[in-house]
Symmetry: C2
Subunit: 206 residues, 2 copies
């Protein structure tokens, strides 16, 4: 489904559109417009129309977008019209919070496994999960066919663990460690570092 | 310090450069180059040079960048050559993890207050913090002069709380709730939603 010539910055906005559409659907809404979406998201209506037009014709001039139809189309484009099995590596504060977070399932992701290398954490229960020994990580990931991992280990361990994930066939890493990762070109990495986001805002403060 | 004509996407890369430089400094390094930084970050050396050149001349052709000097300059630009007092709203899994996270202090942020509206959480200890009653949030934020808040409340409450934060003078919100926020133009919002990042990656997977 991926059309590799679409700029990544456009791809990055699609999940935000989808989230807003799904919220409208929860509110019982059936039709929206690029104007309304834009106001909700702080993005211009023209930008939204331009982004969506890269993938096809999803709305009619004057009648707007059917919310269910557009949600389905964007889910298709993002490959989340299916459910991805996800593993979490690191059962500290963040990994545990991710394991307990119930917002993944209805948005295309199902947490399947959680690993740690700390003997005090291995075997521990987090909700329905039992923390598994990171020593068996590669074989367990391969057996489960997991391609998507959330990495929540200390900064100093992140690259080493990432190398192991890559060798186990992982293709997408959501990295919570505050450090950049080097991975092969066919592996995607996204970073979540609150300080990076905070610093991006303080630039504008006095 | 803010030079408002710099594209926000450039501002967004500066914290990543700074993080990498600070890591090099920890490794005992003194000099780096746009090539080395680029390899660490998966960004082209030309892009890094272009970004930095918007703010001045920080390195010499052939001799590279002095790490301490460049770190200091980027900290100045991002206004993190000072410490920002930060409040956390929401003492659930994420808010608690943020309160315990020890990576803020050396990067320009000091957690000062944490609020919740749940009587079971108010008064609870999280590390050195005592969870405060959200009913007194506006007055406490004003008294402490807090301009930066990390918002970790359920999606359905986020906009209401954001409105109260704005009325209390908050100018920067790091929003962990999976919902877009409407705020006045002089208030900055950054979003952290793991699903948005995951979906941005699954686009590229088969």
């Amino acid at each position: 489904m991926a059309q590799k010539n679409i700029p990544d910055i456009v791809i990055g906005r699609l999940p935000v559109y989808l989230r807003s559409l799904q919220r409208m659907a929860q509110e019982g809404r059936q039709v929206t417009s690029s104007q309304e979406l834009g106001e909700r998201l702080g993005i211009s209506a023209a930008q939204i129309r331009k982004d969506l037009s890269q993938f096809g014709e999803f709305g009619k001039q004057g009648t707007g977008y059917n919310i269910e139809f557009l949600s389905k189309k964007i889910s298709d484009i993002l490959n989340v019209d299916r459910v991805w099995e996800v593993a979490i590596v690191g059962a500290g504060d963040i990994g545990s919070a991710l394991a307990r977070y119930n917002g993944f399932n209805q948005r295309g992701f199902h947490t399947r496994l959680i690993f740690d290398n700390d003997p005090k954490k291995i075997g521990m229960k987090i909700d329905d999960f039992t923390v598994m020994d990171a020593a068996s990580m590669e074989s367990e990931l391969k057996r489960a066919g997991v391609q998507v991992v959330m990495l929540a280990v200390p900064a100093g361990h992140a690259q080493g663990v990432a190398d192991r994930l890559v060798s186990a066939g992982v293709k997408a890493i959501l990295n919570y460690a505050p450090v950049s990762l080097n991975v092969p070109a066919d592996v995607r990495v996204q970073h979540i570092d609150p300080v990076v986001h905070l610093q991006r805002m303080t630039y504008y403060l006095d």
